[in-house]
Amino acid sequence: MERNDMNRTSRWVVIVALAAWAAPGVAADAVSDGVVKIGVLTDMTGFYSDLAGPGSVLAVKMAVDDFGGKVLGKPVEVVSADHQNKADIASNTARKWFDENQVDIAVDMVNSGTALAVMPVAAEKKRITLLSGPATTAITGEKCTAYNIHYTYNNWALANGTGREVVKQGGDSWFFITADYVFGKSLEEDTAAVVKAAGGKVLGAVRHPQSSADFSSYLLQAQASGAKVVGMANAGADTINTIKQAKEFGVTPKQTLAGLLVFISDVNSLGLESSKGMFLTTAFYWDYDDQTRAWSKRFQDHPDNKKKAKPTMVQAGLYSAVTHYLKAVQAAGTDAADPVIARMKATPVNDFFSRGGVIGPDGLHRHDMFLAQVKTPAESKAPWDYYKIMKKIPAAEAFPSVEAQKCPLVAKK
């Protein structure tokens, strides 16, 4: 890529600044185009806008501001775009960003379809993708690329955490309410396998069309099955309506709900009266320790956070991921993709989000996850006081091993 014109003075400033970093062997053109540009590609108004969306953009901006707004003496810019949950819009935007707008790295991409569409574009142009929102395990499995990092969670981690731990807590018979498309079915299969491996039984499942407003029929079937646990292998509005109507039909509290893809924004919109007692797995909870509380408070009080919401795991993960990226750029002395991604994979992450997390050769960030249970209204002492953390699931148990992921890049070696 052509370097833009820089006058002598600013070139000198860069050289002096770099000398001050004492980075060995760095030239003045270490940062392509004189700027590090981060593109946040997310769902700004659709299904996932509350769990990612504007909050994701904010998290990235905070990460850049906290880093000082500059890396290697060059400004860091944040741009964002709405992918509208459409794979073609996502890949076209990414292509334009990389080809015309000097964007160095594309982040978030909530919704697996958009992530899988952008990853090959980025790999072809040697740009890094840093995914926080999407869930499918294929991202670091059969569809893995050399320039991608899957940072926050994946289906396997959610299914495995909730499935195994709930069986251990005595919930040994399950019934699934599953969204009738690839995502739901794979979530159900993954979880069912874990439940059986942990000694539980699966009594049945019902598959519903995506975006069904009314779940009473399915809940009646779940009720009739007599299972102790009702696993919800669906997402978004479907999960919310399932939970709400489960309470109405008296499914809960007799049977326990297990959310396989539930975010704190969902619990917030449902209220505790409907969601209390539900088990779920999360990568992040704002009230876990002093560090998470401090960061989450800054996020919540930020003037750009219009809804004054606490961060979801997707947003917190994105902050951590972008910070890790900027540190890697600084350490590598360049924003070129190859050395930076090598550096990111070689350095363990240590911050409020990830305690000693490691990014594997397949691009999956393996870190601790948490099994949580939603509090009852009586247990909740303050706004957003929603989860009881039941257990920390260590990284090695929380995520699939590199071998299990079957990423072709790794297999070749």
Binding site: T45, S49, Y218, Q221, S269
Partner: protein, 287 residues
């Protein structure tokens, strides 16, 4: 067998929502010849008015049951007076396009303001809990929905088909100019009819608020099914839309029990079949 009975009852509950919404559409189409695509958005608006009333003004469910339809009805009056009125002379495709545009605007505003996860609306205290019928647990609120919807539907039908006011309305559809010659204020009648039709949508919105999440997209999924109901029942047929709404709820409930993955398509399969055999709909008249 017990499970089947439960599913049928649940189907009837959904059917009563379909009936309530398709009734409003049928009244508007029957009298004004307008295909009101914004019906779903106004249903959503009704639910939001209820939620807003509770959150900000402290008006509970019972107040909302009155307030929401009035608010949505007034909004409808404004829409009719300022926009729809200009389209009566044109092909009804224009009305459809206008109301479709309105839908996008209304839903866009709510999306922008309230995000997508929606808000929770509690079941009113008097209607919490439920009864064990032996074959299923019936939440009291759902029973209330069925009773009230059916009552409102048949009251509307009675007014239109069996009273003097209704006879004016029906005459207005046949020959508005002649009716005006008899001294009836036809434009006002059209305005009020549209207002009443969408008020029914607002009413359905309040009924739905405690069951579903009050979210900006709650209307867009429902409206397609409701249109299918109107088409099956016969465009503009009042009784047809009520009976078809209830009937299709039952069919859908049955499908959810026998073969759940087809639950969202069964209504459209029936629509296709009905259009093949009786293009005017089950209760419609050929013009």
């Amino acid at each position: 067998m017990q499970a089947l009975f439960g599913q049928l009852l649940v189907g009837l509950i959904n059917g009563s929502f379909y009936a309530l919404l398709s009734l409003g559409l049928a009244i508007i189409f029957g009298l004004l010849n307008i295909v009101n695509f914004s019906h779903g958005a106004l249903y959503m608006t009704g639910a939001f008015v209820a939620w807003f009333g509770l959150e900000r003004l402290g008006i509970g469910y019972w107040g909302a049951l009155l307030l929401s339809p009035i608010a949505v009805g007034l909004l409808g009056v404004v829409i009719e007076r300022t926009m729809l009125r200009r389209l009566y002379q044109l092909d009804n495709l224009y009305g459809l396009l206008l109301t479709f545009g309105l839908t996008l605007i209304i839903e866009g505003i709510f999306h922008h303001q309230y995000g997508n996860s929606g808000n929770s609306y509690p079941v009113p205290e008097a209607l919490q809990g439920g009864a064990n019928l032996g074959f299923m647990f019936l939440p009291r609120y759902r029973a209330w929905v069925v009773v009230v919807s059916v009552a409102v539907c048949f009251a509307s039908w009675f007014v239109i088909e069996r009273t003097k006011l209704g006879s004016y309305l029906r005459a207005g559809t046949e020959n508005p100019r002649l009716l005006q010659a008899f001294g009836v204020n036809v434009p006002l009648m059209f305005t009020l009819t549209f207002g009443f039709g969408v008020a029914l949508a607002g009413f359905a919105g309040v009924m739905a608020a405690p069951i579903y999440q009050v979210s900006p997209s709650m209307g867009s999924g429902l409206i397609i099914v409701v249109f299918a109901v109107v088409v099956i029942g016969g465009m503009g047929s009042i009784l047809g839309s009520i009976l078809t709404g209830l009937g299709l709820g039952l069919v859908e409930g049955l499908t959810k029990y026998l073969y759940p993955p087809a639950a969202s398509t069964v209504v459209f399969i029936i629509m296709a079949l009905v259009l093949l055999v009786r293009p005017a709909g089950l209760f419609g008249r050929e013009k």
